[in-house]
């Protein structure tokens, strides 16, 4: 693929930069995406004070200026609604919802306006917008900064949802999301952001709706989402030592979902395990189990399993948070159960 290794965060930044270079209707907005607006020693010097709360958008304002990289007040409804209508009137805006946990203050503009406008207008509008947002536990960010919540968005007709699991996918999928003509919610896992991986330097676009088989195997299909992909791969590696060949599928986009790749895999392996860091009820894990059960029931030789977080908020205390997150060990055990029977 490529020799160059960068972080997930840098991959996102590169996608934004390349897309903004390519298309001047692409603009960025969010809280402190540049930072320091109107401060003499910052904006006055063409500088930024922050570049996104964890630094994902660093350096973009220097290249594209404050007209295209807009700091916003803490008014998520206002700036996400702005994103919706700016998209409907000719821009391709990318908004940053700092943490997905904040969706509760602005969800109306996302699902009821952004997601439905095209349909309710009889197809006479399009809304090419992206909302980038951070998900996931693992940074001890506690109950209101550690959720996943992607099922809430995946549930909603009119929205597309993307959860990349590695830097290369993050770059290609973000470019794909920006070029897409529908509203896309793009979920960046806060623990993954710091991880590294090989990423091509040139522009490239991964299409939405195409899953990736991260590892081929014949014994069990493990569908994993976001950070759980690396856990599944680690489990697969361990299990390979025991002679168990795990196929690891990363759906990458939850809506549209590449049903074919997942169903084909289960038709081959006859066993399904879903690994999802999110809470269990009405979840992506349930969605995937249901997909396979309602469409490939006759191919399944073992009871499908959903490995998820428990039905609790994310606890702050480090050992509790670690306990909350599905583990590599749990995956290994589940695979053994699937293969050997319980």
């Amino acid at each position: 693929m490529t020799d160059r290794t960068i972080t997930f965060m840098e991959a996102i930044n590169e996608a934004l930069r390349q897309e903004m270079r390519r298309d001047e209707t692409v603009i960025l907005m969010g809280e402190d995406v540049a930072g320091g607006a109107t401060l003499d020693h910052i904006e006055g010097q063409g500088e930024e004070a922050w570049g996104g709360v964890l630094g994902v958008t660093k350096g973009l304002v220097q290249e594209f200026g404050r007209n295209r990289v807009l700091d916003t007040p803490i008014s998520e409804s206002a700036f996400i609604g702005t994103t919706v209508a700016a998209a409907a009137t000719g821009l391709r805006p990318v908004a940053e919802l700092m943490f997905v946990d904040f969706f509760g203050v602005c969800m109306d503009q996302i699902f009821n306006q952004g997601g439905k406008l095209r349909y309710m207008f009889g197809g006479k509008a399009q809304v090419p917008m992206v909302v980038r947002t951070m998900i996931g536990a693992g940074l001890r960010a506690a109950g209101q900064h550690s959720g996943c919540h992607y099922p809430v968005f995946t549930h909603m007709p009119g929205l597309k949802t993307v959860v990349p699991s590695c830097p290369a996918d993050a770059k290609g999928l973000l470019a794909g999301a920006i070029r897409d003509n529908d509203p896309v919610i793009f979920f960046e896992h806060k623990v993954l952001l710091f991880g590294e991986g090989p990423v091509p330097e040139e522009e490239y676009v991964l299409p939405l709706g195409v899953a990736d088989v991260k590892r081929e195997g014949s014994d069990v299909t493990v569908v994993a989402i976001g950070r759980m992909v690396s856990f599944a791969l680690e489990a697969a590696e361990q299990l390979a030592g025991d002679g168990i060949e795990v196929e690891v599928i990363d759906p990458r986009t939850l809506s549209p979902l590449d049903e074919g790749t997942i169903l084909d895999s289960v038709k081959k392996t006859h066993r399904l395990i879903v690994v999802d860091e999110d809470n269990p009820r009405c979840s992506m894990a349930a969605d995937l189990v249901s997909l396979v059960s309602t469409q490939a029931f006759d191919y399944m030789d073992a009871q499908p399993q959903a490995l998820t977080a428990p039905h609790t908020p994310v606890p702050f205390s480090p050992p509790l948070e670690d306990f909350y997150i599905p583990s590599v060990d749990t995956i290994v055990e589940a695979v053994k159960t699937a293969v050997n029977g319980s």
Partner: protein, 323 residues
């Protein structure tokens, strides 16, 4: 009213009368059981939509409310597809998929009625931002009700529009009620236009039954926005003949209120005003009245004769592409 030509005055009258005739007819159709869903009528507030939109071209934008028919007509949306939309027919402005609460015509800059109170505030900032980023002189009007002024989205939108100096004019249609709840109860501000202080923008309260008062205040605010001087808040105080939605018992009105409404009728006032000043003739206005009736009858016929969408239409237009 000096600066308006006779043709313009006639057009304004026609537009107000079209709205009134449309709404009166829709009320009747609803009572006959011909129109499905929730229908919120605008009759009584014609001077606001027309007073504001007569300053706009098709390139300008408006965001609307659950009560969007008047805004549509004032912004130049065609009547036949509007009526067909209310019936849910395939010839409707939104192919029958939106209905009264989501009626829209983006080509005319009408960014949609909205089922969510206050939903249009943030959207108005969006079309405003597009104009600003692209460097055009397009203006966006955000219509919202007195009730909507208590929704957080309106606060956020006004603040954002001001700090980004967006070309947006916030027009509050204060009919005195949010459903059955009077503004004096739901709103802590003395006047809704007092809230302009909170955003350090110009704020005015005008008589929303007086076309010329609305036209003048909106004209100034729109000019400011067009010239890049940022947003304003114009509160138009008025009333509405029909209840919150069709079918409601209107217990919150008293007989005196309704009698008072009739005295303040915006179309009557306009008519009297232009006749008193001999700017147009009675015959000219009567002709418009008759034409409006005909236009609406034609629209009803058009709508009734149109087909419902094919069932598969339920499944299309969710996405531009999905796979």
């Amino acid at each position: 009213m000096a600066e308006l030509s006779k043709d313009e005055l006639l057009e304004i009258y026609e537009c107000m009368q079209l709205i009134r005739t449309f709404e009166d007819r829709v009320s009747g159709l609803f009572a006959e059981g011909k129109l499905p869903g929730f229908v919120h009528l605008y009759a009584g507030e014609e001077a606001i939509a027309v007073g504001v939109c007569s300053h706009l071209t098709d390139d300008d934008f408006i965001t609307s409310t659950h009560r969007g028919h008047g805004h549509c007509i004032a912004k130049g949306v065609e009547i036949n597809p509007m009526m067909a939309e209310l019936y849910g027919k395939e010839t409707g402005s939104c192919k029958g998929k939106g209905g009264s609460m989501h009626i829209a015509d983006v080509d005319k800059g009408m960014m949609g009625a909205n089922g969510i109170v206050g939903g249009g505030g943030p959207l108005a900032c969006g079309s405003g931002l597009t104009a600003k980023v692209k460097g055009t002189d397009q203006v966006t009007i955000c219509f919202f009700g007195d009730g909507a002024s208590e929704q957080g989205t309106m606060h956020e939108a006004m603040n954002l529009a001001k700090i980004w100096k967006l070309p947006v004019v916030f027009v509050c249609e204060n009919n005195g009620f949010a459903e059955s709840t009077p503004v004096g109860y739901h709103c802590s501000a003395k006047d809704i236009s007092d809230r302009a202080t909170a955003y350090n923008m110009p704020g005015f309260t005008v008589d929303g039954t007086d076309f010329f008062a609305v036209h003048e205040a909106a004209g100034e605010a729109i000019a400011r926005a067009r010239q890049g001087e940022g947003p304003s808040l114009v509160e138009c105080k008025g009333f509405r003949y029909y209840g919150h939605f069709e079918g409601d018992a209107k217990a919150y009105y008293t007989e005196e209120m309704v009698a008072d409404f009739k005295k303040r009728d915006p179309i009557g006032k306009f008519r009297q005003g232009v006749l008193d000043r001999n700017l147009v003739s009675e015959a000219e206005l009567d002709k418009i009245d008759a034409q409006a009736k005909q236009t609406i009858e034609d629209a009803v016929k058009f709508a009734e004769e149109s087909a419902y969408p094919a069932l598969e239409e339920c499944l299309t237009d969710v996405y531009v592409a999905y796979a």
